[in-house]
Structure formats: structure tokens, C-alpha cells
Symmetry: C2
Subunit: 394 residues, 2 copies
Amino acid sequence: MIAKRLIEWGSSGSTIREIAAYGEARAAQIGAENVFNFTIGSPSVDPPPCVYESVERLMRTLPPTQLHAYAPAPGYESVRQKMAEHLNRSFGAAYRSQDIYMTDGASSALAILTHALLGPGEEALTLTPYFTEYKLYVEAAGGTLREVPSDPETFQIDLGAVERALSPKTALMILNSPNNPSGVVLSRESLTALGRLLEERSRIYGHPIYVIADEPYRELVYGDVEVPFLPLIYRDTIYCYSFSKSLSIPGERVGFLALPPTLTDYENVHAAVYGAGRALGYICVSPLFQLVAAECLGKTADLSVYEKNRNLLYGALQGMGYQCVRPDGAFYLFIRAMEQDAKAFCRRAMEMDLLMVPGDDFGCPGYARIAYCVTTEQIQRSLPVFEKLARSYR
Amino acid sequence: MIAKRLIEWGSSGSTIREIAAYGEARAAQIGAENVFNFTIGSPSVDPPPCVYESVERLMRTLPPTQLHAYAPAPGYESVRQKMAEHLNRSFGAAYRSQDIYMTDGASSALAILTHALLGPGEEALTLTPYFTEYKLYVEAAGGTLREVPSDPETFQIDLGAVERALSPKTALMILNSPNNPSGVVLSRESLTALGRLLEERSRIYGHPIYVIADEPYRELVYGDVEVPFLPLIYRDTIYCYSFSKSLSIPGERVGFLALPPTLTDYENVHAAVYGAGRALGYICVSPLFQLVAAECLGKTADLSVYEKNRNLLYGALQGMGYQCVRPDGAFYLFIRAMEQDAKAFCRRAMEMDLLMVPGDDFGCPGYARIAYCVTTEQIQRSLPVFEKLARSYR
């Protein structure tokens, strides 16, 4: 008996990949330079030199049976130690190597954590808009994802909405800042208020409400913007990180999760993470790339093009009458569709070879996501098409 | 509410890793050359030159944002095409690129397939002895693993035992040949008889019984031994392969599963595999290493040392009075413990710094697994210790 849900998840695929595939087919017809594909959030800048240098040095110096051998399930001790030290140095935290569990990017950390932390019938909250796959991770773990609308003016936390969504069934909340797809960075003020609310409710319900801080875009912020380190604001926060965006190596799948030593019920959560990792088929993170990530800690690809792109595109779209919350991070703009149905809006854009993803996919109908991790030149050349699209609605 | 099962799976870890960790600690005390560690099934020979050549060439010729970018979830079309062609050429099969789904080694293929194919309350059968993690994959998917004893004289299929274990609840059977931990290769004769039985029962029950053929050790066979290609014997077989052992790159996690075009309910299984992959947090296999695997198809590391080790160790142990079914493949010997309790037997060996894994971990008490993927020299020097252990029981 094949689960209907899995068939649905498998055959719908993600709208993002479908539109991207259309874009590729179209590019073959009319030339890639004539298709303005803003669908895929894949880094467009080269990894920093340290990535190549590390790969080259490791392959030259380590015995190959060691370099490509099974690594311990939670990662090499030396790598975990370095991750912990980096967090402690950067944020004043107090992680130990045993608190770090290396993962295949943030996605596997999220799948492992939802399985570890959610019992049947329990709920996970997340703010809209949110990364599509959260729903799958939560439901595959037997839980229910409850979407909590953000403040529609700012995409910051609407504390009243969180308050109304919380219940004794709430076991988990997933936060993503800088946010995919809105680019918004959650403010210290709103996180502090949220932390107080969750502490109070944990006390009332008599069980912890864990927070997963999903932060693969942490380094992609522009201007003088703080990305508060949530584990120091709310005690029961599990931090998830991926090197996909900061080092431009999304395909190689390297990241980690960090359990704070003071986490409620630490021993059981720790064991359940290990158990979930085994049960979901994860054996280890690539030994080569976990060593590379450890050697490149604190370094990033040249991220300046993303800021340049954001400024160019955000400014131009505003001038054309598009509405959009100013994104302080990640590489996404989340614009209001110019008609009620964002899918129809994106279809009309698609007929102009301008490809965006409707917000419906992010639990936020009425919007469209533009992934501006492309060349600045593509953005420049797309502006007349954005203008044409806007004009068609006037 | 943290699932008790996950806590158990996480805190028990695997006995294998525990004993291996003891071995490492002991090696630090008395010197690695004085600890005879036969616990871990990790390749001891270098990858073939094509692995390095491919890594080097790919890193030199492909733009890095492409080489380390997100690959499509099921793998690159070109890679899947090559995998299909290789199977077709090697075995006379008829796979198409869309039948291949690249996975993080065989473990993730197994986790994905158990989730895709097992409904709540359904059963998966496997023959004892079997790879420990099968139980986790099956139970995490909501099913029950039913252990079917093999013929104790040969570790071949005991058809009567399978017959007795089958029921309308049987949705799946997992086979592993060459077998971890016994090293036994299932014969064409026994697989043909099994195929007939499963066909008959599928008809009677009115639903397919899928077989997963887990074959990461396919190339590690010694002498004139056939490893029959099960998908051509039994129609509803899904083939799982890993490059971990053949290319000596277990840490890099590259493998695939192959759905035969004639599989019962193909479309739904295909979609459920994609859905399960998404839901378990898998994004893609390393683009670098899936390209490397495709370039190295048909090549293997120099596996001759394993045959040499098997001959040396199997011969010597027989001479000392150990009982063991002659293993034709993989790199394991599965000996009878010299007392009823294999854990006590392994503890006594451990006190002599000889490390093996008790068969209890493989659903087969009374035996111990020796992983002979070590240097031939280690085997030679361990023989007096094996002799001492045997003598202690005389």
C-alpha cells in the first residue's frame, strides 16, 4: 500500500523545479539570454579560494582510504570541535563538540529534527511565508504544520497570531531568518518577545516548545543589519546551519545542527537526533567536504553581487509600481502579485519569458518570489520585461 | 514528546561502532599494531585511479558554480542514462534513464524505499543474518520487520521458512547478496524458487510483494561465482547499488536505485520514491561524486586483497576448529561462537585484543562477524590470537 501522501509529494514535485524546467526548455528554443529565469535559489558566485585549496590539499595529503572512508555519524570530532568554537567565538555561545551533529545541509537537519521532536498528533508552527519542504518534514514525522501569518506589512512576527496558534499540542516552531522567500531578517525585538511568549507557554503546558532556527542565509545580509543569534535569546533553540549559500557549494550537502548544552531534556533529544539520523538512512556527511567546511570556517564566497543585485532590482521594481517589503538578506524578493491570483500573475510573466514562483508554494498566496542570485547583467536586461508586465496591469 | 524508539536507536548506537571505539581507545594505549580490529566494514584498498583522475578533471574543467550546484533530485540525466546503460549492458536489462534514482549510497535507497513501499501495519521480510539497519528503516516507515531464518548449514534461502512467514500483510522482502555479515551469495536456483513463490503469493493476496535487492558487494566475489541479477528473475525487484565498496569511497555516499519499467504499479512507486526522498530531507547526491561514479562505471578498486585475505583467514580458522560457511563474497566471515552466548565469546576475544561483532546484532545469535577488509599482515599477525581463543575453549 503506497502512501497517497508520498505519491502526491512525488508527483507534484515542487512548482519551483517545474517552472525551472520550463525555463530550460524555453532557453533551448530561444536562447538562454532571452529567458529571465528567477526561479532557483542556487548561488551564482564561485566558492571562495579556500574551498579549492582545501580540496586540493586534502586529496594530496590524506590517505585516500581515510579521506573517503566512513566518517562517524555525527561528524569528525575535530570538525565538530571547530564548529562549536566558531559559534562560541562568533556569538558568545558555549557549545561543546558533542553538541554538534553534522548534517547533509540544512534540509537533513530539519528532517532529522522534526522526526526527533514531533510525536503523532503534535503540531509545529511556522511563519508564512516559509520554505515549502517544512510541510513535508513535519508531516512525514507524523505531525501537523500550522501556518502562522506574519505581519503583512513587514513580514515580522505577528505575536498575536502566534499566541492564537499556540496550544498544548505545540511541540515545535520553525523559524527561518533571513527568510526564504521574503528576504526579511527577524528583528531582535520581535524574537525577544517571541521567546518570552514561548517560555511562558512551555511553563503553562508543562512541556518544552522547541524552536528550530534554520539559518543557511545568515551571512547574506546587506547593510547594517543584525541577524540575532536565537539560541542566546530563547533557551530551547536548536540552531541549523548549511554551508550551501555561504561557500556556494549547495550540491555537496554540508551543514550541522547544534544542541545547546542547556536544552530541556538534552539527553533524550541528543539520542533521538542520532536515532532519527540512522532511521532516515543518513550514514555520514562527506568526509572530504566536512573537512573543507571546517577549514573554511568564517570565510564566504564574494557575496557582494547579491547586494548589488538587490539594490538594482528593488529600486527598479519600486519605480515601476511593484510592492515589496525591503529584503535585508538572502537572495530573494517577494513581490505582491498585480492580480489576486499569483499563479495567473506568474503565468502572464511566463508568457513574457520572465520566470518567478507563485507565493502559494510558500503558504502565502498573492505574492511571487524572485530569486536574484543571477548575473547583474540578467537583472539589467530583465528590467524592460518587468516594466512590460507592470504596464499590462495598468 | 520524543519517540522512545528513536531515543533507543540513538543511544544504543550500533554495537559495531561501540566495539570499534573501544578498539581505537585500546590502540592508543598499547599501539595499533597490537589490536586486531575486525569490526568495521570499511574498504581497506585505495580507490582506482579513475576516481582521482575524474575528480581532478571535473574540478579543472567544469565551472565551480555548476560543479557544486544543486543537482536534480533524482540525479543528472546524463548520469542516470549511463547507469541504465551499464545495467543493460552488464545484465541484459532494459532500464531507461527515468528508472534510475541516484541516492546517498544504498542506505538512503533503503530508507526511501521502505518509506515508499510500506504502509502502517504491513510487513517486510528479510533473511537472517541481515544488516542491522534494515530494522530501523522498516520500523521508521511504520512497518514491521519479520526475520526469516536462512538454512543454518548454508545461509541460503530456506523456502519453507519464507513460505511460513508470508502473509497478506507482506508488502516487501529485502535481500542482500553477497551478504553482510555472512559473505554468502544467494544461488540462482534458490532465487528462482523464491521468485516463483512470491509471484504465486502476490497473485493470491491480490497485491504485489516487492523485493529490494541490496547489492553493494556485487563485485566483491571470489572465484567462479555468479551473482544472479534478481530483477531478471523476479519482476517486482528494485535493485539498489552503492559505489562505496567497488570504488572504495564509502564516505562520499553515492549509489542508486533502479525501478524496472515493468514494475507493478510503476507510476505510483516512482512518484512515492520521489516523495519519500523529499520528505526524508534528501536534496541531491553530490554532483561531483555522481559524475565521478558515472565516469568510473565498470571499474573497481583492486579487490584482490580481499580474496587473498579470505583464503588465508578461512583456511587458518578451519584448521583451528572454527566453524564457518565458506563465504564467496563481500569481506566478511561469519563464524560460530565457541559458546552459546556470542556476546560472551566476543568479550573473551576482546580481552585478547581481538575485536569481532556478535551475531545478535545481525538477527543471528551464536555467531560472530569478522570484517577482513584489513591488511593481510594484520590477518597474519592475528592468527596466533585466534588460535589462543580457540584453545581457551578446548
